[in-house]
Symmetry: C2
């Protein structure tokens, strides 16, 4: 499965790590990279992430056998419109976005006949340290990558995408775009929304500063995701707002049940609910199988 | 500051670690311990946490110069009623509970003249591994301990308590019981309530199991405190329910502001709020000074 030319559009942590991993596993002969910023292109060259930098996204797509879109969601539609023109008929096109129904919709609107070539991907990987300088060849090893093929996606494109991610050491799962977005609203997007909301509720109060000095490790864990990138999370939350709002309602209902127990001093009811929550969390472990 | 006899009522992680620390720092000549369970008393003796086990809580108070109450909140009032009879007029009495206004109220009702001897304490220390087997002499070193003297507390008792905790390596802060409970509702009790509520909202949905298999490290951090002891947290939440419910309202208001931005697709407003939350969390670090 030698890829003669890999095009990377967006040479950040995700795109740069994909290029490094593909090279480390001997999958590619040449990596052509594009980023809008000249300094990012220079850094990608300097770190050996790409072999050649190009000044236009289209030039990273022309004559490539495989193209990875690793750009902010706001830039995705424009890149797809370029790909509709530039992508070779045999090429595989993948993205790495955290939401999938919106990306599939963009593909319908902008990719034309190249929808068949496009496999929407969500690698569950990342780092709080963004940027090409932190790209690493093992970012995707033993991490889960979810493929959410659309109706228009060719089945051999899905099989090809799966074999590429598996070659990089990732565990591949297939889901529908809608099932993906519901699941990640529940397990990722809503926790981020709640952690952001909790911090906002705190800073709205005058005692905020002295209170925060008393906060301990539990606070630190609970709020860690509130330190995430606001631009990325604005885009994720907006892109998946229907599922996020539905999951937020499920949370609010559960919170209301708990606060009613508290207000009514219903010790037994409260204890029963806390035991259910504790049991569910106690049984959870991080896994990528 | 030699303590001839330390009485420990409740030889668990907190009480046992206090005894070990006091001995390690050469503060005590004899430790007398009580726990309702014979096997805990035997383990406390076997681990060298106490010198002598007694069958009644009163016997750990009689003739002691210092008594630490380290029992569940449900047992505190009864222990105070015993202390009112058993405690020597010169003895220092301390507790280690996570809420303080309720303990001060119990002292008013049950301690009589010995209210002067009682210094309510909240050491910000602990471990997910409870029990005397995990007691350790350095549990309180470099950790914050908050003293919340009541109006009836003698000022020399507060000074004595402060010097004892400092001798164990802890950093001592003084606050009013009400200020303490408001602060910990904000930075600890509400995060626990929200993490429990989030897990409850999850397990109420049929897709719960497959969703949880997709959850990543962010989910793990956010929900870690939902694995906490339900009995302890039932008691903390009920004891501090007024402050917890007030802080929950502040959270709900902030969440509502965020979900309105989402529903209205107000990208700029959402971004601004996420930036505020991120900045506040980004500046926070764990500290005990």
């Amino acid at each position: 499965m030698m890829i003669e030319r890999l095009g990377v559009v967006g040479c950040g942590l995700m795109g740069g790590s994909f290029a490094l991993a593909a090279r480390a596993h001997g999958l590619v002969r040449e990596v052509v990279g594009y980023s809008p910023s000249a300094s990012t292109r220079a850094a990608a060259l300097a770190h050996g992430v790409i072999d050649r930098a190009v000044d236009h996204a289209s030039d990273a797509m022309n004559q490539a056998d495989m193209v990875l879109l690793a750009v902010p969601v706001a830039a995705t539609a424009h890149c797809m419109a370029l790909a509709e023109q530039a992508l070779a008929p045999h090429a595989l096109l993948m993205d790495v976005g955290s939401t999938k129904a919106d990306v599939v919709q963009m593909a319908q609107q902008h990719l034309g006949a190249r929808q068949a070539n496009f496999v929407p991907c969500h690698p569950i990987a990342g780092s709080e340290r963004a940027g090409v300088a932190h790209a690493q060849a093992n970012l995707y090893r033993d991490r889960r990558v979810i493929l959410t093929p659309a109706k228009a996606t060719a089945s051999d494109a899905v099989a090809h995408a799966q074999s590429v991610w598996q070659a990089l050491g990732a565990r591949v799962t297939r889901m529908s775009p809608a099932a993906h977005d519901a699941a990640f609203a529940a397990v990722s997007h809503v926790p981020h929304l709640l952690a952001f909301a909790y911090m906002l509720g705190m800073i709205g109060q005058p005692e905020f500063d002295p209170w925060l000095r008393l906060a301990g490790p539990g606070f630190g864990d609970f709020t860690r995701i509130a330190a995430s990138d606001p631009t990325l999370w604005r885009d994720v939350l907006l892109a998946n707002r229907t599922q996020v709002l539905a999951q937020t309602q499920a949370f609010e209902q559960a919170l209301s049940t708990l606060t009613q127990c508290l207000a009514q001093q219903n010790a037994d009811g409260l204890h029963q609910l806390l035991c259910q929550a504790r049991d569910a969390r106690g049984q959870w472990t991080l896994r990528a199988d």
